[in-house]
């Protein structure tokens, strides 16, 4: 096809998509049966409009009823406050009340007020319609937006029907906004943002709310969505700093499993926790977000991990950690909304005290540089949707940055090991690990495997995980081949890494044939869930242990339950016992009590 044909085809496609939304669900609408979900609407729709698989209980849970009663009381107070929105009394009470949750019935009004929507809207009268017209003629994002509208909040009453009224609004707001803010255009994730706004606002309000969220310095989401995601990298770096300071054990746990924050937290930052925490909690976060701005995102990210640290520390592969954070917590946060918000408030205070409540001002490239609402004719490549053959400078930069983050994480992990272990080489061949803290799952044994596993940039881009299987089996089997020390394992790693500099290209023809396996491909999961590490816990005086300050809630309690100076051996996960082979004979390896004291 030549360029002319391609342009014509793109125009036809765009036109067709727009016409479908114009028509909506009226007669003649082309809707494939699969495009409309079948739901039992009645009895299964919750108070926010989401339709559930199962019938909701016919009796209201007494606690829920109580909450609704409280909310009704609050509505009265809010109504009173709304009458004098700009008064000093309101200013005084607003903060506390927003943190308690804006009554759902008043969210439409209050959200608009918090965003000072009316002002922006009046200043730009007629602009929205203008953008709609431009979009119809020139939008290059129609196809992408169309496919995302078709899958955004489909379990919500508003968006259930294909080309239903709210789907029409969502499509229009997004295509119009992509014209208005041409620097960002449309980025996946924005449909979630607009989708929530449209649950509480009409179309034009949602358009301007979106604009405020992108461009007001309080929220500045522009830098999140624009090419190269500059704000995302800045916030992720800050998130890492917070973890390092407040929860170093957890950070190490993530690093050990090659889990970069970008993998589990993207939607936290991109859509303010939509589809990552239960919707009722998500709304509470949005309430606070609209009041105090982006600091809440940082603090909530911290809060989620702080509240669930223990559960996460128990998970030993990337797969289950990500699943826990992204899927499980969305279905069930395990804390009620009030407790979660309470923890969030505390996190905000703790971060402020540590001067970590905000990552600092945006970089220059996060700030919009093009004027809004000024039409720029799309290029031929944009219209046809040609992929760029090469990365732009910004994209390359992002790529490098993201990769560097991994490298830094790994180095930090290694340094940490060097600092805390000192002469770790002496330990590596040992059957036991010396783990001074029972709380901290990153035992030296596991750490040791990272010694010297300094990898190339290329190699570290994704994941890497301690190869626990090798260790645990050695320790457990007590086989005579204990000469298989970590040293060989370690050098394997570095060889695998070193040979892949720059390109990620690794061949196995290296001079050094690895003993077990090289990790030229970063591993995402440990091959064995480290079921049977033998640890010796050496009790120590709690006074020798630096404690994390108690006010951050991340207190490490020393295992001071050991009254004497015994050495304690503990076998974890004893249900995973495997038969052992020793001198060709099968021997069941079992310790009756999980802990043995060596006098």
């Amino acid at each position: 096809m030549n360029e002319e044909d391609l342009l014509k085809r793109s125009a036809e496609e765009r036109d067709k998509i727009f016409k479908r939304y114009d028509r909506g669900r009226e007669e003649g609408a082309e809707i494939d049966p699969w495009e409309d979900p079948t739901f039992e609407v009645y009895h299964a729709t919750d108070r926010y409009g989401f339709i559930h698989d199962k019938r909701l209980p016919s009796k209201v849970d007494p606690q829920e009823a109580k909450k609704q009663q409280i909310e009704l009381e609050r509505v009265k107070k809010w109504r009173k406050m709304l009458k004098s929105w700009n008064s000093s009394v309101t200013k005084e009470k607003l903060h506390k009340r927003v943190f308690k949750g804006i009554p759902n019935s008043l969210r439409p009004q209050v959200w608009c007020l918090l965003l000072s929507l009316d002002k922006t809207k009046t200043e730009n009268r007629g602009k929205y319609d203008e953008m709609l017209k431009l979009a119809r003629k020139y939008s290059t994002d129609a196809r992408q937006i169309d496919s995302d509208v078709n899958r955004q909040f489909r379990e919500h009453l508003f968006y259930r029907e294909r080309y239903g009224i709210k789907q029409q609004s969502l499509f229009k707001v997004l295509t119009a906004y992509a014209m208005y803010n041409s620097e960002v255009g449309y980025c996946q994730g924005m449909s979630g943002l607009a989708g929530v706004l449209l649950m509480y606002m009409d179309e034009e309000d949602a358009f301007w709310a979106m604009h405020i969220l992108l461009t007001d310095p309080k929220f500045s989401m522009h830098g999140l969505y624009k090419e190269g995601f500059p704000k995302l990298t800045r916030f992720l770096a800050h998130h890492d700093r917070i973890l390092t300071k407040f929860m170093p054990g957890l950070k190490k746990h993530f690093d050990k499993h090659g889990l970069d924050a970008i993998l589990y937290s993207l939607k936290w930052f991109f859509v303010c926790f939509v589809e990552r925490v239960p919707f009722s909690l998500c709304l509470r976060i949005w309430d606070i977000y609209l009041l105090i701005g982006e600091r809440v995102i940082t603090a909530m990210a911290f809060t989620i991990l702080r509240l669930h640290k223990k559960s996460i520390m128990k998970l030993n592969d990337m797969d289950s950690i990500v699943h826990f954070i992204q899927v499980k917590l969305y279905k069930d946060f395990m804390y009620d909304d009030d407790s979660a918000v309470h923890a969030l408030e505390r996190a905000l205070e703790d971060l402020k005290r540590a001067k970590l409540d905000h990552p600092g001002p945006p970089t220059k490239d996060e700030i919009p540089s093009r004027p809004f609402g000024v039409f720029i004719e799309p290029t031929v490549d944009q219209i046809i949707g040609h992929r760029a053959e090469k990365f732009t400078e910004k994209e390359r930069e992002t790529n490098t940055l993201v990769v560097l983050r991994r490298e830094e994480a790994r180095e930090a992990l290694e340094n940490d090991v060097q600092l805390s272990v000192g002469d770790s080489a002496g330990l590596t061949g040992s059957k036991f690990s010396f783990d001074p803290s029972m709380d901290d799952t990153s035992s030296l044994l596991e750490d040791c495997q990272h010694m010297g596993s300094k990898r190339s940039l290329a190699d570290t881009s994704v994941t890497s995980t301690a190869d626990l299987s090798v260790f645990s089996t050695i320790t457990r089997s007590q086989a005579h081949e204990n000469s298989l020390d970590t040293h060989s394992n370690v050098s394997d790693n570095s060889v695998g890494g070193a040979s892949s500099v720059g390109s990620g290209i690794v061949t196995s023809s290296g001079a050094h044939k690895p003993l077990f396996s090289t990790h030229s491909t970063p591993r995402a999961t440990p091959h064995n869930p480290s079921p049977d590490v033998l640890r010796i816990y050496v009790p120590y005086s709690p006074l020798d242990t630096p404690l994390v300050s108690p006010h951050n809630g991340d207190v490490k309690v020393p295992p001071n339950t050991f009254p004497d100076n015994k050495i304690r051996i503990r076998v974890d996960n004893d249900e995973l016992l495997t038969p052992l082979v020793e001198h060709g004979q099968i021997r069941s390896f079992r310790i009756d009590s999980p802990e043995i004291d060596l006098k």
Partner: protein, 215 residues
């Protein structure tokens, strides 16, 4: 590529089979069904309104081939061009890739070709690439002919199948075909292949792909 291989040994000394782990990445234009293919393969499920992948998703699945257990670490990427800058961190070091297009949309096939080109230029030289023409259940709306894609795949040394995440057609098959093509013996001759009783993930490898796993 040095994939992880090990020989699981039973107490009686018989070889039980190798376990290999491979990193696999899914690439392709937005909304062609990358996440749906993974969901079908890993969980045997299909959602009509699969939420759009932002950034990337990670899942694992294990399949068995004769005496070898192959564990796939699957990176499912976002399709929108904007997220392209993140893609190299996922395909780097991958031993396998599935490039997906939608048979009802000619443009997505064009994009698939661009991905193949990029992989052949930037990814590991030995990478096994499969081309998947997804949404085969919508064949009545077909815009990309089977023969056209097949010829392209042959020419570029790709595995090729038309798939349907919705009906499950060829979904397990394409992953299995990849597993078969991946080299699995590089470590087999490694010296000191481990002490006795060395046990790699044996029997606790998580969910099995329906109908194609070891008994």
């Amino acid at each position: 590529m040095a994939n992880r291989t090990g020989t699981a040994q039973r107490p009686n000394g018989q070889t039980q089979g190798k376990i290999c782990q491979f990193k696999l990445v899914l690439l392709g234009e937005s909304a062609v069904g990358k996440s749906s293919l993974v969901l079908r393969f890993v969980k045997g499920q299909f959602h009509e309104y699969q939420e759009s992948t932002i950034g990337a998703a990670f899942l694992t699945q294990t399949v068995c081939l004769d005496d070898t257990t192959v564990k796939f670490e699957i990176w499912d990427t976002a399709g929108q061009e904007r997220y392209h800058s993140l893609a190299p961190m996922y395909y780097r070091g991958a031993q396998a890739a599935i490039v997906v297009y939608d048979i009802t949309n000619q443009d997505t096939f064009g994009r698939a070709k661009t991905w193949v080109k990029e992989l052949q230029r930037q990814a590991s030289p030995n990478i096994v690439i499969a081309l998947a023409g997804n949404k085969q259940d919508l064949a009545n709306k077909r815009m990309v002919e089977f023969e056209e894609a097949h010829a392209y795949a042959d020419e570029h040394g790709l595995l090729f199948m038309e798939t349907s995440a919705k009906t499950a057609m060829n979904v397990n098959d394409i992953f299995l075909a990849i597993a078969k093509k991946l080299p699995k013996n590089e470590q087999a001759g490694a010296p000191g292949g481990g002490g006795q009783g060395r046990r790699l993930v044996d029997g606790d490898t998580g969910p099995k792909a329906a109908g194609n796993c070891c008994k």
